[in-house]
Amino acid sequence: MSDPALAQPLPGQRATLRSRWLAYALAIAVIVILPFVFTDTYWRTNLTVCAINVLLAIGLDFILGYAGQLNLGHSAFYGLGAYVSTLLIVKLGIPFWIAFVAGVAFAGIAGTFLSLFAVRLRGHYLAIASLGFAVIVHQILLNWISLTQGPLGIYGIAPPPAIIIGGVVIADFRNLAAFFYLVAGFAFLSYILLNQLVRSPIGETLTAIREDEVSAASLGINGAAWKVFAFGVGSAVAGAAGCFYASFVGTLVPDAFFVSEAFNILAMVIVGGMGTLIGPVFGAILLTVLPEVLRGFGDLRLVVYGAALTFVVLFMPGGLAQAARVVAEKLGLRRSA
């Protein structure tokens, strides 16, 4: 725990601070360049899907890796964000960005509720409760046809309205590159937000709770409140991903939020490296791109997907983050801890 009396960062910390800003600058540069490298609509679509999946993965990692909550139902918040924002726009004519905030808030509140409900549950019980929640949400989306259109689907969802300042079109989101910048930019900001939370005293509190809740309680930490907070934040992020998904694909059907989607997101977090935040970013990118690249394999590409998940867990449970660390140590870039 850092001593609040130390106002100045230590020399070692200053160096890490600098390298972090460097990494952020690099990330921004990569995001800006990508649509120029991939100029066809097929790959630009994939880039945006990657960005959406990154949002989902970091949100889940915050809940799973940092707050230690076994959430197997992340697809529920994804779906709630998508449907709430879309229905507000399509049925009530509410402007996009207000509907967006509503969708995010709704998903966050839903996550808070689930967490409050499950606050006494640990481990496998929470896992099944969250799974049950995801099934219920999916079934409600499917069966409440008068509200959600159910399997009939909602079509022709428009992209966010263009940003026009003083008569000049700054961004037209029918352009795939512009949409990618929007989602990637939002994902980037969310990452910074979550990263700051993790490095702040809040993050340390969560780690304490994750490692040993009983001892943390003896220090006066209200474990339950913090777990609920983490769940709310993580699910709000998933809600944002849902809003983007709906206006990107233009078509909304409940089956896009079937529970298997929750497992996909989980795979991204695990393969990337649970509890590292940066790992799931790469996990999401890898597991979005891999099925596309493996299209030639037909049915077998999903077998590869499942195999990847199994083998990562067996042989490298820290995922890509662990792999990167091992490589860095071997190359002498880092001293082993």
Partner: protein, 381 residues
């Protein structure tokens, strides 16, 4: 003199051969968006069979000097994978025409993509009215849509079968719900009464409870059933076990549309007795085009063709017909499709109305299951 003549003739011959060889290099590129993975891969596999048979026959001699090349992409019967597959197809293969998808959700998602790319989409599997109703100039459908089928079925149920009561059984999907609604509207318009509308998810395995509920509803004349083969089998058996349908000693008759291929009876057994349904491919069809297709299919695959095979075959053959009439690229193929008149395919005739929907009613064939499990064609159209 003679030498000069020989030279001249040889040169001409080489020139002719060269032009002929160049002409043979002309290809029509057909993109195929079918579900190849996931639960819908059932459709994709059968579509591919139909396509391959058609290609084999066409490419022997080509049409107007053109050969046909097909590229398959997996659209997984779902909006996002379908749009990604469509984009990939258009970017990398640059087809002149695209056939697909099977599932209405996927087709609807793909339509804006092909419209923007100005490539015609020829559909034969999606029944949702939304595919053609808005009138997209780049989307064509040869299969009768749910409204055409539903109105016709309701009329026949009322008038020919003299049915007064009905119970709707349908899967909770776009196509299932859509079809059921159309039947209900039109059946009630004819004076019929719908006793219950029972929708179920694709994950339901046991239909005994549903069959029991139907049994408790009193006199049921017809049971319109909209579901795929796997669940359809269970429903038919359960209804017979509950003593509701003819196959189980009851009086109700199951009726339905296109979704259950020939071969269903062999699996369902006695329970399927009396089932009347609309099919897209009539295996007892006496027209030459249908008989030739059936025998060629049997020879190549050693199996009876289903409507999925027939649809895919028709899609390719229709495109070939358009090429014969002068189509050679996306725009001319689109125009050629729109202008189709008097074309006779395996599944029926083709002529598109102004929303590019095929309105020929002979694509709706009615079949009844006889006690020996064979089909008899009820020539109602």
């Amino acid at each position: 003199m003679k030498a000069l003549r020989t030279l001249f003739v040889s040169a001409a011959a080489v020139g002719l051969l060269a032009t002929a060889a160049q002409a043979q290099d002309k290809t029509i590129k057909i993109g195929a968006l079918f579900p190849m993975s996931g639960p819908g891969s059932y459709f994709g596999a059968q579509d591919k069979q139909g396509v391959e048979l058609a290609l084999e026959q066409l490419n022997k001699a080509g049409v107007n000097g053109y050969k046909f090349v097909v590229q398959y992409e997996d659209s997984s019967c779902s909006p996002l994978p379908a749009t990604q597959a469509a984009k990939r197809l258009i970017e990398q293969f640059k087809p002149d025409v695209i056939i697909g998808e099977e599932c209405s959700d996927a087709t609807l998602a793909v339509m804006p993509v092909v419209e923007q790319a100005k490539v015609p989409l020829l559909n034969a599997g999606s029944s949702s009215i939304k595919v053609t109703e808005p009138g997209n100039p780049w989307t064509f459908r040869i299969m009768p849509n749910e409204v055409m089928q539903g109105i016709n079925l309701a009329e026949n149920a009322s008038k020919r079968m003299k049915a007064e009561t009905a119970v709707l059984l349908f899967e909770n999907t776009n196509a299932g719900i859509g079809n059921a609604q159309v039947f209900k509207e039109n059946f009630t318009k004819q004076g019929g009464k719908v006793l219950a509308e029972i929708g179920f998810g694709r994950d339901v395995n046991d239909f005994t409870a549903i069959a029991t509920r139907v049994a408790g509803l009193g006199k049921v004349d017809v049971i319109p059933t909209y579901t795929l083969e796997g669940q359809g089998l269970k429903i038919t058996q359960a209804l017979a076990q509950a003593g509701v349908t003819k196959g189980g000693g009851g009086n109700a008759i199951q009726i339905g549309t296109i979704w259950l291929p020939f071969g269903f009876e062999q699996k369902a057994g006695k329970a399927a007795l009396g089932y009347i349904r609309i099919v897209q491919f009539d295996p007892t069809d006496t027209r030459d085009v249908a008989k030739n297709f059936a025998s060629a299919f049997k020879a190549k695959y050693n199996a009876e063709p289903t409507h999925l095979n027939a649809h895919a075959y028709d899609q390719i053959m229709l495109i070939a017909d358009v090429v014969k009439r002068g189509g050679k690229d996306a725009q001319s193929i689109r125009d050629g499709l729109a202008a189709t008149k008097g074309y006779s395919g395996v599944t029926g005739s083709v002529e598109f109305d102004k929303t590019n929907q095929n309105t020929k009613m002979d694509t709706i064939h009615y079949m009844e299951t006889k006690p020996d499990m064979s089909w008899t064609s009820l020539k109602w159209n």
